[in-house]
Subunit: 251 residues, 8 copies
Amino acid sequence: MNSEVRRILEAVRSGGLDVDDALLKLKEKPFEDIGYAKVDLHRKVRQGAAEVIYGAGKTAEQITGIVTAMKNGGQDTILITRLSPEAAAQVGQTHALDYHPDARAGVVGELPPADGLGTIVIATGGTSDIPIAEEAALTAQILGNHVTRLYDVGVAGLHRTLAHLDEIMTASVIVAIAGMEGALASVIGGLADCPVIAVPTSVGYGASFQGLSALLSMLNSCASGVSVVNIDNGFGAGYLASMINHMEGKR
Amino acid sequence: MNSEVRRILEAVRSGGLDVDDALLKLKEKPFEDIGYAKVDLHRKVRQGAAEVIYGAGKTAEQITGIVTAMKNGGQDTILITRLSPEAAAQVGQTHALDYHPDARAGVVGELPPADGLGTIVIATGGTSDIPIAEEAALTAQILGNHVTRLYDVGVAGLHRTLAHLDEIMTASVIVAIAGMEGALASVIGGLADCPVIAVPTSVGYGASFQGLSALLSMLNSCASGVSVVNIDNGFGAGYLASMINHMEGKR
Amino acid sequence: MNSEVRRILEAVRSGGLDVDDALLKLKEKPFEDIGYAKVDLHRKVRQGAAEVIYGAGKTAEQITGIVTAMKNGGQDTILITRLSPEAAAQVGQTHALDYHPDARAGVVGELPPADGLGTIVIATGGTSDIPIAEEAALTAQILGNHVTRLYDVGVAGLHRTLAHLDEIMTASVIVAIAGMEGALASVIGGLADCPVIAVPTSVGYGASFQGLSALLSMLNSCASGVSVVNIDNGFGAGYLASMINHMEGKR
Amino acid sequence: MNSEVRRILEAVRSGGLDVDDALLKLKEKPFEDIGYAKVDLHRKVRQGAAEVIYGAGKTAEQITGIVTAMKNGGQDTILITRLSPEAAAQVGQTHALDYHPDARAGVVGELPPADGLGTIVIATGGTSDIPIAEEAALTAQILGNHVTRLYDVGVAGLHRTLAHLDEIMTASVIVAIAGMEGALASVIGGLADCPVIAVPTSVGYGASFQGLSALLSMLNSCASGVSVVNIDNGFGAGYLASMINHMEGKR
Amino acid sequence: MNSEVRRILEAVRSGGLDVDDALLKLKEKPFEDIGYAKVDLHRKVRQGAAEVIYGAGKTAEQITGIVTAMKNGGQDTILITRLSPEAAAQVGQTHALDYHPDARAGVVGELPPADGLGTIVIATGGTSDIPIAEEAALTAQILGNHVTRLYDVGVAGLHRTLAHLDEIMTASVIVAIAGMEGALASVIGGLADCPVIAVPTSVGYGASFQGLSALLSMLNSCASGVSVVNIDNGFGAGYLASMINHMEGKR
Amino acid sequence: MNSEVRRILEAVRSGGLDVDDALLKLKEKPFEDIGYAKVDLHRKVRQGAAEVIYGAGKTAEQITGIVTAMKNGGQDTILITRLSPEAAAQVGQTHALDYHPDARAGVVGELPPADGLGTIVIATGGTSDIPIAEEAALTAQILGNHVTRLYDVGVAGLHRTLAHLDEIMTASVIVAIAGMEGALASVIGGLADCPVIAVPTSVGYGASFQGLSALLSMLNSCASGVSVVNIDNGFGAGYLASMINHMEGKR
Amino acid sequence: MNSEVRRILEAVRSGGLDVDDALLKLKEKPFEDIGYAKVDLHRKVRQGAAEVIYGAGKTAEQITGIVTAMKNGGQDTILITRLSPEAAAQVGQTHALDYHPDARAGVVGELPPADGLGTIVIATGGTSDIPIAEEAALTAQILGNHVTRLYDVGVAGLHRTLAHLDEIMTASVIVAIAGMEGALASVIGGLADCPVIAVPTSVGYGASFQGLSALLSMLNSCASGVSVVNIDNGFGAGYLASMINHMEGKR
Amino acid sequence: MNSEVRRILEAVRSGGLDVDDALLKLKEKPFEDIGYAKVDLHRKVRQGAAEVIYGAGKTAEQITGIVTAMKNGGQDTILITRLSPEAAAQVGQTHALDYHPDARAGVVGELPPADGLGTIVIATGGTSDIPIAEEAALTAQILGNHVTRLYDVGVAGLHRTLAHLDEIMTASVIVAIAGMEGALASVIGGLADCPVIAVPTSVGYGASFQGLSALLSMLNSCASGVSVVNIDNGFGAGYLASMINHMEGKR
């Protein structure tokens, strides 16, 4: 944002821009307004690989419109999360869409090649956590990461967790997804030497209180290097994992 | 209680007891009332080994009085939990008292020999959980159990837990004590083949919410054979562990 | 797990196993992977009597597949919990299945003879708690226990509870199941001399807050020997009760 | 309030009062304002027997002043709740005060004779609940009731509760006071045929959450005739019990 | 219960009953067991006027069966709460049933004449609280009380409340029913001189949290004489109001 | 209300009204009772512009009846909030109704001209908050305010918020509507010099806990001039904003 | 902020400012940094009358320093909230300070004349709420408002509230402060025709849960025109009340 | 851990280690046990730069002993968090200790040179958050990172936040620390292109509920790339930030 301000100031000084126009430009919206959503066309530059649409609460028509605007804006690969099969079918009539029912997500365009520092491991405590895990995995893949899936490795059967010690200890980033007691994050956090992003899930019953139990458990993890995102926020975990897996020198 | 009713009824039939006296007896309190507390003199018979006084909220004078009443009632070994060093010093002036500062508990009389089915393992996630663990351990010992202490074996350093696999897998009952994320109960529950009594502790800070996080985590344990007692209830866990470790045929 | 490590190490020493294979074996999964679930084939040995499938969130096809894998693995008796009548009908087309609608559970194979230390009493506060109670009862039966059901003996009609004093006082283990105020666990805990496993249920309305009220009440029980499992966790209570009812010397 | 309006209106019609004065009178405060508190001088008429000062947060000087104003207003008997021993000593220098340390309350003047319908039973689950019970008992006594105290009759030792079946079944109103699991209200509510006022207390630790557990348990009581007041609100329970114990025909 | 014990004891002494039979009798259940519910046939005697069936979670067949058993036991008037119109229609095929859709309740038999001390006022804050209010009103009526309904008199339009000052100030007992902020109980409690039973309701949205807001507000009422029952518990309030309205000397 | 009392009193003094009638009048309800709702006919005077019906929980017939009564009472413009499309269609058969599906609200009559002090800005964090925003906007418009809508200006894309700095800094009152983290209220509160009414919404998932997260966040806003209404209470915010935007001298 | 941008742009165009300096200026901090706090010297212009220091967590030395900086910056009147008597004494050694112990606040300089639209009424439910009320009152006064205090007018003694109907109905803005059940806001909100700012307080005990009960109650107020600030936030309420009381045309 | 297993297995095969010794070694604890704490001597290797002692709940003697053990183990730089000034003084008698009172932490040895990918920005919303921020900053520094502190840049004064746009947009990792509404994390998350670690703090009052409000707000952040650690967990945030700032290729 800083360099834009400089450019505008220089244009004012050089006389190429008068004050009122500059004032306007400084407030100008760097996104196309299509009525029901502000499509941010600068985001590609910032993140580089692809663009993401949060599908929940949007009609198929709205999603189709946003995809069109994005493609017109030069975006090749687009991920649509929280997309129902019905909406996917409708969007698919306008745009070539690859629908992933497990992740409840659709992809427009090609998955980019993996160009991160290493592998992102996505681990779940049980099989009910898989939809969230697939959302995280797809997000990471579409942002250019190699992903290894370790599903149903919950700590109540510790041999299942330990059977994957190699993957855990060589990962670049780990996304640990679990409902109920959420202990997976602590155990993996204690085994791994890399950042662990914990995702509590709302699966379970009784005193799991829709993910509250797992959330609190993960926040209290005694293992260093563990941080937590919102309950069921597979996308957020995948996005952050990709960001960490693409770290580079900033000096 | 049933056999008492029978005895009274038989005395009525035989004429040894008239109706009003029987009515009275049926309501009679089987405990000595010493004003500030009802000293239950039947309890020894029921549990066998020893008697326990919950010291919290009682003055040193009251505790001394209860001990005197119990000893007069024939009780040799008495455990006093939640006993401050100051109160212990005062009680110690009247009764020979062995004070355990770690457990904040005092013992009057000898520890009985261990006569349970096997060993009770008391495990803690961290060093801050030790006071609760010592309360559990002392309770189990005074009720006639062999106890093995495994302290600071939290799952965030899983090699610490696994280093004690032998003790965990050969235990008769395990008491798993942890604050913060409370994952110890699940991991031990998954490794062990015996009942695991989970005790959440109020140690920790922030989102541990005085033990709530560990409590919920333990209740949600996916490992079978795990049950939970109140936050910081070391006594309750030790008592139940002893009960299970003294199971015998009831057919 | 320890003895397996020893066997592998001895095979290495004797030359019957090279290092890489040993390394592999140490991580090898002792369960068959059928895609959607890891079927643990060692569990029978550990618990002895039968195997349990948690049916919630699994399709009838998946359950059928797991049952097939288990039977191929030598398992004769299988309990499927949280099984809808519809899914039961589907599974029943492939495997002989005895469906218990009250417990929402199905049984493949014969119930084993009861070989525990004594009788497990399953008590409920009201009639709405019966589904959870039946899940607990069936679990205990399939694991080889004699079960006595005491339903609708809530303490608000104390004569109902007291009418069963005999069963309560001679039980080996008691499972006390109640929603709303959850007082049943305390009253039974005060009457009985055996371990009491309390199960809060989510029945009720208003300030029962889906079982939270009963859960807190049971955790705070002043009766010794009471521990608590998750809200509505009939299976967990039945499993733990069986474990306690099969205690034997481990010295 | 209605009859006052009538009196004022009649005075207006008769010319004895002009409109502006009437308007004023209709708003006039029926209490003396002594700066830090509005002393309600009508309250005696309404309740009859005595007046109560809530001592918490008031200085000894303020309490002394309120007592003086009340006595000047014709009030003979005054109860001061939540009164520290120190404040009591100070108030006692001006007014003859009978201090009850258990109840943390003081009485100015004589206790009135009991003139209620029957006996109010005040029962507690444990000894730690006694301060709240004494506040309730003293409140009931100063409002003209005969009170029977049943302390330490918690349901975890059910024989203690049942030993007092006579008092419970012949009471006019029962105040059931308990912390921790709060089951006393349900058990007594199931035994008694009279209104039961449940008072949760903040004694306990861990998952009692400062009385929340007992509060929820009591609200969920399955026994009919039970209602609940605020945690630790002994005064409120005693006051309501007296009100019920003085019910009379209003037809 | 006491007098039964005496009768049994006297029969034993007189030889009319041997010990084993007496023992049995002492445990005998004073209710008919019809499989799915224990029909308490003594309750009529205790409360006098009528019997109540809690319809929630019972099938129409079960309700019909219970009504039949009660009528066979001599009960003329029966209230069935939480009864859906569909179940009412089915029960109505066997028993003459007067269905009250507002209260979601049905009545078998005649309403008894009002024989209480005075009038029970049932007041609600809004129109959405009416179903709970009607349940309370019908309960009170079937137990022999005269009822005055004051609906939609919430304090946010205080003139509506004050318009009914007469009814409020002359009531024998008041049931104050409100959701959202629950202030009605405090305002009425401050105006009335009789016991006020507060019923929080789950109507509302947002921070009403299904009645929690009203519940807490009512528990904190600064007005003396107010007590609280469970959220939406119209029956409990009506039952307790009737009990208070039928108080009589017990000396 | 005060001037009414004066009028009545003067009529009494002048003999134009006798005491009993005056007494009655003082209690007389200033609203028409049409059975299912008390239609307040004085409210127009107080607020001036229009009348509002809260449609939730009312049948189309009831709403139609209330509108009829209001129009008979001289009300020209009426807003009906929380009105389903189906109910709107039914009401529309009797009264000319302009339905706003976004706001789930209907308007009978003309919107009045804007006569407030300035512009009310309605800002939302996301697109899912729009229904609540439209309810607020329509409420403000029908009460005579000029409204500017700033939707989807959430702080996670701060340039979107800042692009509207002009509108924010020149507003008369701002309604800031957001779910999830609710940070919009703080940021706008820090930028604006006018009262900010924060409305938390229940949109979101996981740890948003149906609006609780946004509610707490808004209550804790460090920006001065921010206050909060109930979750999803668009009407309340619009009404209060109008009240503030119509402030005038009262000296 | 907008006009500053314009000024800077014009200086750039005119050559009076080069680009780098402009860039710097656009980021320049419009406040003096004195190390431990950023003293905002522009705030006076924005709000006009006076400046406020939040004293909590600041040492007397820090407060003295901030006051000095403010006075150097031309500020005459300064309010210091949450100021202990000890800190006040220390600050008073350097600056003439008028300390208000009730409000726990100090004033440097003169109170400005009242120049608002009307009177701000500050009402409290009880006497324990007075410290919060005084903080609100002093804040309003220092910002140029006429304030009327109505203390101890809680709705449990409704005649106390109604005695002040005149003040309530003629207020410009009302601040309603109450703990416990918080009903004052609803009752006043229903009586008044002006904005009501509700302040829950943390006074009370038991189920008041440190102000949570009052907070929820106030958020659920059915009276229109009521909004809520944080628990115990007297300053925030006084500030917002002043803002509303100084509304003027912005067209 | 994997490579250790391989080494041991190879030693077994080569005959350099017999089976029992290997079995022992596999369980051997890689840490020195000094009674009150297990000092992990392998940790230096894993994280490289320094070792950290969590000082809370440890006596000065214990801390001194752990430092001694660590130094004997070859550790040069040691950070002790949550260290009181008193304990620091005591530890300082044995070891050269640099105490940082703001952070409540002490450092033994030299800070290592910064060798991370870029700069870690530590930002706080207010001045009360500084202790947590200093703990994070010191942790990051001792682990070899360059740290920029941006304190008191809360979003309620957005110009303060924006004044540091340069630092925010060029950071490698940002730690955003805030209590109360916690909006800082969302605003910074929306501005920055790097991972943001949010730390809720327990500062504040009222509805901040000891950090719960900030915690929920941060978990619900709509900005991508934000994750959350426990309330007040400055150490955890600094540790994770360092881990991310030292990411390198793992392919």
